[in-house]
Symmetry: D2
Subunit: 301 residues, 4 copies
């Protein structure tokens, strides 16, 4: 169960009592405020607060460009221009705060994005809940044979059953022992900061994560990408939906120029020009390595 009854009661109270503000409102995001969207088996994402909207991006850009921006004054065009030319500071003027529940091994990837603010549940201070991520059968993937850090086919039959059984029983036993170490009749109980070390990386933790839109887009480009590990990608995809409703112009530009965009090397651009002039270019005549050429072929279809 993603939320405690106390958390749900708090959400319901907040959602029932809109208050007047003079600040910028993003109606598309107001409708999502506080609602916990399920991710994986026990995780969730919910928006706690936000600052700014598409208009706030333009407003900040116009401080920079002063009277010179009249000709690009339509918001969508300005936002697309800013995104295309890598102007990052106007996007930093929007901010979002999320409450996220996620497995520890996902949290360990996530935290590498340093330009963000985090308050994580402290297992030195408090006791973690008995909640572990157990993959759905269709995510129980074999090691890729082509890519050292990727997934291959889905495991099936006896192997799948055995793996699931290990994950479930080891999680359960680890948590039983965690509880037993913490407290037992007539015993002192191991310090929480030590007992937690017995819990595996699929245990759930939670945090508040606050980030500006520029850095959030950077996170989403890497983590909503098809090469990202599935278990973090589903969080990134859930955030993408929220951002699309929050700043629709910026999100659309992000999709076109970043998520769907491709960076080509100077060698690749040179090959393209030759091909457009009718030349047949092969890996051997391209100046690219085999790996680069394979990726280039993927881009040009």
């Amino acid at each position: 169960m993603p939320l405690t009854p106390e958390q749900q009661a708090e959400i319901d109270a907040l959602r029932a009592s809109p208050q007047p503000t003079l600040r910028t409102i993003a109606p598309g995001l107001e409708q999502h405020l506080y609602t916990a969207y399920d991710v994986l088996d026990h995780g969730f994402i919910r928006v706690i607060d936000y600052m700014g909207d598409d208009n706030a991006i333009c407003q900040a850009a116009r401080v920079s460009y002063g009277k010179g921006t009249k000709q690009v004054s339509q918001n969508e065009g300005l936002i697309r221009y800013l995104m295309r030319h890598w102007h990052s500071t106007p996007f930093e003027m929007c901010e979002i705060k999320l409450h996220v529940k996620l497995p520890v091994f996902v949290a360990r990837q996530w935290i590498r994005h340093r330009t963000a603010n985090v308050n994580e549940y402290s297992a030195r201070y408090s006791i973690l809940d008995r909640e572990f991520y157990i993959p759905e059968p269709d995510q129980l993937a074999a090691q890729s044979t082509a890519n050292a850090q990727g997934r291959g086919d889905v495991l099936e039959g006896a192997e799948a059953a055995r793996v699931l059984e290990i994950l479930k029983s080891d999680s359960a036993r680890a948590y039983d022992h965690y509880e037993e170490m913490l407290a037992q009749d007539d015993q002192k109980g191991l310090a929480r900061e030590l007992a937690r070390m017995n819990l595996p990386a699929n245990v759930y933790t939670q945090w508040y994560w606050k980030v500006d839109l520029h850095n959030l887009f950077h996170f989403l480009r890497l983590r909503a990408d098809s090469h990202a590990q599935y278990e973090i990608r589903v969080y990134a995809e859930a955030i993408c939906k929220l951002v699309a409703d929050w700043v629709p112009f910026a999100y659309s530009a992000f999709e076109d120029y970043r998520m769907g965009g491709v960076t080509l090397s100077s060698k690749a651009i040179e090959c393209l020009r030759r091909m457009l002039q009718g030349e047949e270019v092969t890996q051997e005549t391209s100046g690219m390595s085999k790996g680069e050429w394979r990726e280039f072929e993927g881009v040009i279809g």
Copy 2:
């Protein structure tokens, strides 16, 4: 005149139309939203947007401490505890966005605080206004004889008059020439990105500045301090008033533990203990250098 008529009209429209939101509201800051508070002769500070309040600090802290925080659950006590023990992340969960008009030499100090988001008016793109900071007579200070980076007595009489005359006439001439280089009958006009180099450091610029509360407190501790240069200190003091209305518990704890607090060295603590036991301690017997001892005497009165 700090704001253009267009900017004032925009402010008036925004202030006239509160909208409902489900987000946290800080009533003390809502009343200041968009209002431009004068600073120096042509500068101002105004709040554009904010996220969070005292309660948001506690809410984030409670994510961290989970069920363990019941006993410090009163908000003010919790906030004072967090401040006293240098817990920075809960304060990062509040954010404020300011529109600031300020002289370039002040902007150059200010920008050294790196953990913030900035969109500055671009003098490559646009033309700067004819606005220069000219100190009030009571701020026309002589170089300190004791402190290489401080101010001494106020200049008076002929010297003061001469200095003011220089500042005014050089500013006026620099701006006249700036305009003449940019455009003149039958001439091409120098590029803006070059012409701006003729303007002195007391010309006004403006920017949007967005920062979290933890980093804002760090800025205020250094810049609202009595050793800060007067021209940045007045901005910091204007911000202090806004923050006091925004997050009253956090600001009060900041005043007590940071602004009014003092860090003593291990040697100073050792001396204090000896003095409290009745021993007469002098610089010679303190183990401190003359400079440290002088500062220590300032602390203990």
Copy 3:
């Protein structure tokens, strides 16, 4: 065994072949280069590279202060002055790169220090070793009864034995199952990025960690502090020894003003002044809460 034979051979080769450089040398740190110092049962710290020394701090400060610094030109005095007055940028001019092997639950605390560069061993890409942190008996502490995030007495007798047995057997079983999931006769093997989730937080990881001296001091102040968790404190203490040999003046100032220093609130300073004038001050007449007063008594002895 902290280092592989290949790593040790690499170290020996590097240590055997000094090369000439025109850069600043810190002789005190050269002697430690590449040597792995044991921390905990399987961890280590070793210095991979460094930039700067005490003199580099002063050199940077003198760029800032130009001709004005003649009077504080002795290096030790200048460094103490910079530390006392919270000048952070000269200390940022020194940099150190460490190779650290550490348990995952320690890494999770450590990584919260965001202003640093990190390359961590990837368990998506590679297979973790069978190495787990098992506390020494004298570190098998009970939960503190006074402090929700601290340790109390050491566990003894049957309880200690039971806890150690759990930690050892759960680690061993988790690793056996990790291996079995990764590969087994006639099976595909679970993807590494999934199998790792079965490993508990006392498994060892390793990383390269690069940080400037200012941010390192901030890390050390928090993590070498007596309130830090023992398992990260021992790493911080090992780093302290290296830093003391690297930048002896800066480290000595850090010890005096930061590690051994105390920040007193304005209320505490007011009480001190009254006490030094002979007044008897109690918690009731101090204006401080009970918690603050207790901490204040701890400071003044």
Copy 4:
């Protein structure tokens, strides 16, 4: 004259006395150490210190990828792979420290790159030298008529002469007045922190700037770009030459994938695919705006 005799003497002494170190050496950069390379009329760049080389990038990457990296173990291939796939952390493991003398208006652009360490000459503390940037005649450009923040034709004849005369005489007068305000017979002298405000933005300042290679590449991509303002671009180009000698593999990959690379939107990629299949695509049928199409045509030649 870019360097004072004292600075030159310090350089000569340092260059004359290589010392043994166990650290990684980058021979290509050792030869440039301390030498001041002229930039603009009074500016310079010189390398003060560095950490790491191409091999250090690979070494850090191999910590991450552990035993999995054998197949990409040749350094150049690995570095190109890391650059192509946006792996930033291995490049952060190299660091460089520069001493830069530059006009204030250039410094104001430069400082916007926040992830770096800076110690700037303090004009609160010290007195600035009489050195101002005056453009060469071939850089005295008119405002672009096509691009609000760009340069057009070079000014010629009387207009050029008039502009140069303004820049020179205003600089000279501003400095004369600066000196007169600071000190004069029988007068107190205005505080340095105030007097500096009379100096225009073409006055030279200097700083130590320390940055990791990843963030340096980001700086160079933006500032060595043909759209960057000439006066900062020449600094970026001077740094490019040093970096090419420091980390030749990384610099070559940077040139191919970043400086010479182009990011295409999903719409542009779609057009490319259609064109490669023989379709004639125009702006009208491309789905792109006129601005995007113009830029796209520039890419594909």
